[in-house]
């Protein structure tokens, strides 16, 4: 290969690799001492999908997985519901800072997690179909109501094998677990 081809080739490789880089999906407040958090409450998640039970399902999986990680104590959903009802939060999926501080005081939480289910279910492209999930979570510190961690994750979707051979992709539950595990990994990284 002639030597004069090397610089343009290298430039092409660098450009191609740069194109593969995804957007940053995690925010961590560098001033926050995450070690001081012991108890968290997971608020009901916002549901932007057509599947009515998607938010509850994801919240259930997230609660179990976060508790099973052993790093944080998650307040039982029934107790969170009592706190929401006692404080009188009209829209629990997007509480105001004031509501957040109040509810955290009632249920004795160090932090509150809110989130959104943006995509849940089957996606189609041409004749191919596969299950997909897209989630985002925020961790809010209850004393000031500041967002100290935020992450989003997307799993599933139509891959090359789905396009070539069909098959419908992975089951929804498996994708949900993978997405939740990914979000938890981003919280502890």
């Amino acid at each position: 290969m002639p030597k004069r081809w090397i610089p343009p080739l290298m430039t092409l490789v660098v450009l191609a690799l740069a194109g593969c880089a995804g957007p940053a999906e995690v925010f961590r407040d560098p001033n926050m001492d995450f070690g001081a958090l012991h108890t968290v409450a997971i608020m009901p998640l916002a549901n932007l999908t057509r599947e009515s039970s998607a938010a509850e399902r994801v919240r259930d999986v997230f609660t179990t997985k976060l508790l099973a990680s052993g790093a944080l104590y998650v307040i039982p959903p029934g107790e969170v519901a009592r706190g929401i009802s006692r404080v009188g939060i009209s829209n629990p999926v997007a509480p105001s800072t004031e509501e957040l501080t109040k509810v955290a005081g009632v249920i004795k939480a160090d932090a509150v997690i809110t989130g959104t289910v943006k995509e849940y279910g089957e996606v189609r492209s041409g004749s191919s179909a596969a299950n997909s999930i897209s989630l985002s979570f925020q961790l809010l510190e209850t004393q000031t109501g500041r967002v100290v961690w935020s992450a989003s994750t997307t799993m599933g979707g139509i891959g090359i094998t789905d396009r070539l051979f069909g098959g419908g992709g992975e089951p929804m539950n498996d994708i949900t677990e993978r997405a939740v595990n990914d979000a938890i990994k981003k919280l502890f990284q």
């Binding site: 099973a68 104590y73 039982p76 029934g78 539950n173």
Partner: protein, 365 residues
């Protein structure tokens, strides 16, 4: 050509087997408890139908009672039980509360009550049935002595070229009732099917004290799916497994229901600590188990695979915190790698396996 001596030994062997086959069934009287010191009459309540469809409940009960009687259980006459139920306007047959249990003992002499739930009943091929039954004493505080369940499908063991398939509902039903009757009267219970849970499906804050016996209240699970009775069915599976573990004294669900109704406790999004506080005091219990069912499906058809998805939470009285939690979803085909080996045909059997695996591994002795 076999020799004379080998031929005669073969004939002798066959005769022995034939004679053994004619032997009367083993009769094991209900002993009330493992110590065998409280033999008594048992009232068999009508079956509670949790299957979501129609089923010949009266016939099933009659056949079940017959099988139990053959096993030596002394059964309260049907007419006497009916009179008692009419007198006390007893309509709920899914459990027994303390007042009714005492009245039953006083008025009929029954020392035990058999509460049976029909979880599944399908007659189209493959026929399927799932039953859960528990023996409860009629003491001042009703106590669950034994609890067993059975779930069978006509295609549980299809065998080579489908020779093991059972297409007659009667055969499946008879076998299920026989197995359940045997398990309740001292026979060997059905082993739970093997299910592999995910490694991050179970949370245990700390191991329970191995030398201590715990009193547990199991609340009906919140059913988020479309089954309608899945919450009650999952709660029954947990009760059964906790009873079998031996270290837990489970509060009779009839007593729990009575107290929930009396104090008008409604738990829309799970049990709160305030509700738990009330229940800990009312029922004198150390632990409260509650949960949610996201999916519980028994799809019909030879290739259909059941799905079960639930989460459970155990609250402790002393710390007022969740000490154990689990959540997982499984299908009947999860362990299948080769020719349907390891397939689980019913949601009931799948739930039994999941609950057994989760409890035996983390809460067992």
């Amino acid at each position: 050509m076999p020799s004379k001596s080998s031929f005669s030994s073969l004939v002798a062997g066959l005769l022995v087997l034939l004679v053994a086959g004619c032997a009367p069934w083993h009769r094991a009287a209900w002993t009330g408890d493992k110590a065998g010191n409280a033999e008594g009459v048992v009232a068999i309540l009508p079956l509670q139908n949790l299957s979501g469809g129609s089923a010949p409940l009266a016939e099933l009960k009659q056949e079940f009672a017959r099988r139990l009687a053959l096993r030596g259980m002394a059964i309260l006459p049907e007419a006497q039980l009916e009179q008692f139920m009419t007198r006390h306007r007893l309509r709920y047959v899914g459990g027994i509360d303390a007042t009714t249990a005492q009245a039953l003992r006083r008025e009929t002499g029954a020392q035990g009550v058999l509460v049976t739930q029909l979880e599944l009943y399908r007659t189209p091929f493959p026929p399927r049935i799932a039953l859960t039954s528990r023996l409860v004493t009629t003491e001042d505080t009703p106590r669950i002595v034994r609890m067993e369940s059975v779930a069978l499908s006509g295609d549980d063991a299809p065998g080579l070229l489908g020779v093991g398939l059972v297409d007659k509902p009667r055969e499946v039903t008879d076998r299920a009732l026989r197995l359940l009757a045997e398990a309740l009267t001292g026979g060997e219970p059905q082993p739970p099917p093997r299910v592999s849970l995910g490694s991050d499906s179970v949370y245990l804050a700390r191991p329970l004290d191995p030398g201590r016996s715990y009193r547990v209240t199991v609340l009906p699970f919140y059913d988020k799916g479309s089954h309608g009775y899945a919450g009650e069915i999952l709660a029954l599976h947990f009760i059964g497994e906790l009873v079998r573990q031996g270290r837990f004294q489970v509060v009779e669900p009839g007593t729990v229901r009575e107290d929930l109704l009396r104090y008008r406790i409604i738990m829309e999004d799970g049990v709160s600590l305030a509700d738990a506080e009330l229940l800990f005091g009312m029922l004198s219990t150390d632990l409260i188990l509650s949960g949610e069912v996201n999916d519980y499906q028994d799809l019909q058809g030879a290739q259909a695979s059941p799905k079960v998805d639930f989460s459970a939470l155990l609250l402790e009285r002393s710390s007022r915190r969740a000490v154990w939690s689990m959540g997982d979803h499984r299908t009947g085909m999860d362990r299948v790698r080769f020719f349907d080996i390891g397939r689980i045909a019913t949601a009931s059997a799948l739930a039994t396996g999941m609950v057994h695996q989760a409890i035996a591994e983390s809460l067992g002795r």
